[in-house]
Symmetry: C2
Subunit: 379 residues, 2 copies
C-alpha cells in the first residue's frame, strides 16, 4: 500500500472510530430507556414481550430506513438484537408477582438446571422458593409444610415413580405441576396421587436461555385450572408464549421433534467417530451450512448423556418413529446403489410437494441464519 493510501485509510478509520463512540452512547441510552419501560411494565404487571408493539415499531423503522437508503433488514436485525439485550436485562428489575398469597414454592429437583432456572424466575417475581433434592427427603415434611405449589423436575426415568411414591399427601389446596418433556404419564401420575389442582408444563427450551422472552411453554391442563391460572399469567409476564396441548398429541409430536431428532444426531456423531473423521479438516472444507450442522451435532456431545438417554428412552413409541427412519434410509440407499437417479428425483419432488410453501419459507429463514453464521467467522 502506498503512503497516501495508508493515510487516507487512517483518516477514514478515525472517523469510523468516532461514529462508533456515538453508536455506543446511543446503545447505552436506548437500553436505559427500555429498562425504564420495563420498570413501568413491572409496576403495572404487563408482560415484557409485546409482539404487536414490537411488530409495529419494526415496521415503522423499516419505513424510515428505506427513506434514508438504509436497508430495512439491517435496522430490523439490529433492533432485534437490541431487544434481546433488553429482555436479558429485564431480570435485573424483577417481575410482577401475580399471586401474592401463595405460600412458598417447592421445586423437587431444584438443583437441576431447569429447576434452577424456574427457581430463579420465581424468586425474581417475589415468591419464596425451596429446593428439595435427592438428599433432602428426610426433611421433606418440613419443606412441604405450607407450600402453595410443588413443581417436579427430575429425570424422566424416575418422574412418575417419584410422584406416586412421595407426593400423595400434599394438601388439596396445593398446586402440583411438572416440567417433564413428556406429558401423558406424569400428568396421569399427578392426577392419581394428588387431589388438588394439577398442571403439566413442558418448557420448550434449554436451561441456558438468558431470558424466557419469546420462548414456548407447552401447557397440558390437569385439574382445577382456575387455581393455577395465575401461574400461566406469571409465565406470560416472564415473556414466554403458552401453547395449550393435549398430552397425548404433545407426546406424539415429541417422538419426532425430540426422540428421533436427537437419536439421528447421536448416530451422526457416532458415525463421524467411527469413520475417524478429522474434524479440523472437515471444518477447513466446510461451508456455513455444514459448519452449522456440525455444530448442531457437536453441541449434543457437550451435554449430559443421561439427559439424552432419558429423552430417547422415555417413550416406547419413539422406537417406531426411529425404526421408520431406518427403513426409509435403507430404501433410499437402495436407489443409490442401483444408480437410480430418476427414482431419487421422483422421491425428492414428492417430498418437496408435501413441504409446499414451507420449503421456500424454510429456505428464507435458513438463509438469514447462515448469514449470521458467516458474520461470526473470524478469519
Amino acid at each position: 500500500m502506498s503512503e497516501k493510501t495508508t493515510k487516507e485509510l487512517e483518516k477514514l478509520r478515525e472517523h469510523i472510530d468516532s461514529v462508533d463512540q456515538q453508536l455506543l452512547h446511543l446503545l447505552r441510552k436506548r437500553l436505559d430507556l427500555v429498562a425504564q419501560v420495563g420498570g413501568v411494565k413491572h409496576a403495572a404487571g404487563v408482560p415484557i414481550y409485546a409482539p404487536q408493539r414490537e411488530a409495529s415499531m419494526l415496521a415503522k423503522r423499516r419505513e424510515e430506513a428505506a427513506k434514508m437508503n438504509v436497508s430495512p433488514q439491517l435496522i430490523e436485525d439490529i433492533l432485534r438484537r437490541l431487544m434481546r439485550e433488553s429482555y436479558l436485562n429485564e431480570k435485573d428489575v424483577g417481575f410482577k408477582q401475580v399471586k401474592t398469597d401463595l405460600g412458598h414454592v417447592v421445586i423437587v429437583g431444584g438443583q437441576g438446571k431447569l429447576g434452577g432456572l424456574f427457581a430463579q424466575m420465581l424468586s425474581l417475581s417475589g415468591y419464596q422458593v425451596k429446593s428439595l433434592d435427592k438428599d433432602d427427603w428426610q426433611q421433606a415434611e418440613a419443606i412441604f409444610d405450607g407450600a402453595g405449589m410443588v413443581i417436579v423436575t427430575v429425570p424422566i426415568s424416575i418422574t412418575c415413580e417419584l410422584i406416586r411414591d412421595k407426593l400423595t399427601s400434599l394438601p388439596s389446596s396445593c398446586i402440583l405441576a411438572d416440567l417433564t418433556s413428556i406429558k401423558e404419564k406424569p400428568l396421569d401420575a399427578m392426577l392419581s396421587s394428588h387431589r388438588g389442582p394439577v398442571v403439566g408444563l413442558h418448557p420448550m427450551f434449554g436451561p441456558d436461555v438468558g431470558s424466557l422472552a419469546k420462548q414456548v411453554v407447552v401447557v397440558c391442563h390437569g385439574r382445577g385450572r382456575e387455581q393455577y391460572e395465575w401461574l400461566l399469567e406469571q409465565i406470560g409476564i416472564w415473556g414466554a408464549r403458552l401453547v395449550e396441548a393435549d398430552a397425548q398429541q404433545h407426546d406424539k409430536a415429541m417422538q419426532l421433534v425430540q426422540a428421533m431428532r436427537h437419536f439421528s444426531s447421536f448416530v451422526y456423531g457416532l458415525n463421524l467417530y467411527r469413520e475417524a473423521a478429522d474434524i479440523d479438516n472437515l471444518l477447513q472444507f466446510s461451508s456455513p451450512i455444514y459448519r452449522l450442522e456440525l455444530a448442531m451435532v457437536g453441541r449434543l456431545f457437550a451435554q449430559s448423556p443421561e439427559l439424552y438417554a432419558d429423552i430417547i428412552f422415555a417413550q416406547q413409541e419413539s422406537l417406531t418413529a426411529i425404526g421408520d427412519y431406518l427403513d426409509n434410509y435403507a430404501q433410499a440407499l437402495e436407489l443409490l446403489k442401483r444408480g437410480d437417479r430418476q427414482g431419487f428425483i421422483r422421491e425428492f419432488e414428492a417430498v418437496a410437494a408435501w413441504f409446499g410453501d414451507f420449503a421456500p419459507q424454510f429456505q428464507r429463514e435458513s438463509r438469514a441464519m447462515l448469514q449470521s453464521v458467516n458474520d461470526m467467522k473470524t478469519g
Copy 2:
C-alpha cells in the same frame, strides 16, 4: 393498564423513537464511511476483507463497551451485522482488476446460478465475460476466439465428458478452470484435454450469498500456477478465503461433508412425508433448535432435485459413507430395542471424548445461532 401507565409508556416510547432516528443517521454515516474505505481499497487493489483489522477493531470496541456498561457481545454482534452490509455494498463500487491483459473470459454454463455469480464478479472487476450454454455450441469457435480463460460450471454428471469432448483445442496460453464440487476427475479431464494452465476451484457456498467476503474457495492446483496466480489474487480481492487442497483429499471430505449430509437430510424429509407429519403442529411445539433443524431440512426441498442428485450420485465412494451411517444407525437402534440405557451412555461418552474440545466450542457457537433464531421470532 391505567391511564398513568399508558402515558408513561407513551412518553418513553417517544424518547426511544428519537434515539432510533439518531441510530439510523449514524448507521447511514458509518455505511458511507466504510464505502469510502472501500473506494480507497478498490483504487489500491487491497482485499475488502481484512481479518486482522476487523479483529483489532472489534477488540477495541468491546473494551470501550465494557467501560460504558454495554455488553461487549452486543456491540460485536451489531458491528458484525454492519460489516456484512458493507460487504454487500462493495459490489456497487466494483473491484480492482488484477489482470488487465487477459482477453475475455468464457463461462461454460454461465446461465447457471453459480456461473452467473462468477460472471457478475468478473464483470464488476473489469473483465469481459461471455457465456456459453448448451444451445451455443454452434458458435463455440467464435465465442472461444481470443479467450484468456475458460471456466467450466455445468452439472457434475456431464462435466468430465464435456471437457474431454469440447475443450481439446484451446490455445495453450488460455487458462482452463472449473467450479465443480468434486475435484479429482474434472482436474484429470482438464489436464488431459488442455495443454495450458489448469486449476480446479470449489466455491464452498451457494450462489445466493450476497458477497464473497469470508466465504471459502477450495483451490486444487493443476498446472502452470504462475499463469493463474492472478485469478487467486482476484478471488481474494472479492473477500473470499482460499484453501489449497489435494484433489483426492478434498473429494474424500466431500463424501462426508456433502454427499452423506445431504442424503441424510433428504431421508429426514422423506421420513416426515411418509409419517404424514403435520408441519404446522411440529412448529407449534418446536424449540428454537428444532425449528432450525427443520429449516435446514426444508431448505433442501426448495432447491433443485437435479443439483442434489448430482452431488449425491457424483462419487461412487460416497455410497460407502452413506452405507456406514445406515449400519451405525441400525446398531444404535438395537441398543434402544434392548432398552440398553447404559450401552447408549457408553457410546455417547466415547463420541463425546472423541469430539473433545470441539463439543463445548460447537455448543457455544450453536447457542449464538439459536439466539439469533429466537430473535427472528415474530409472535
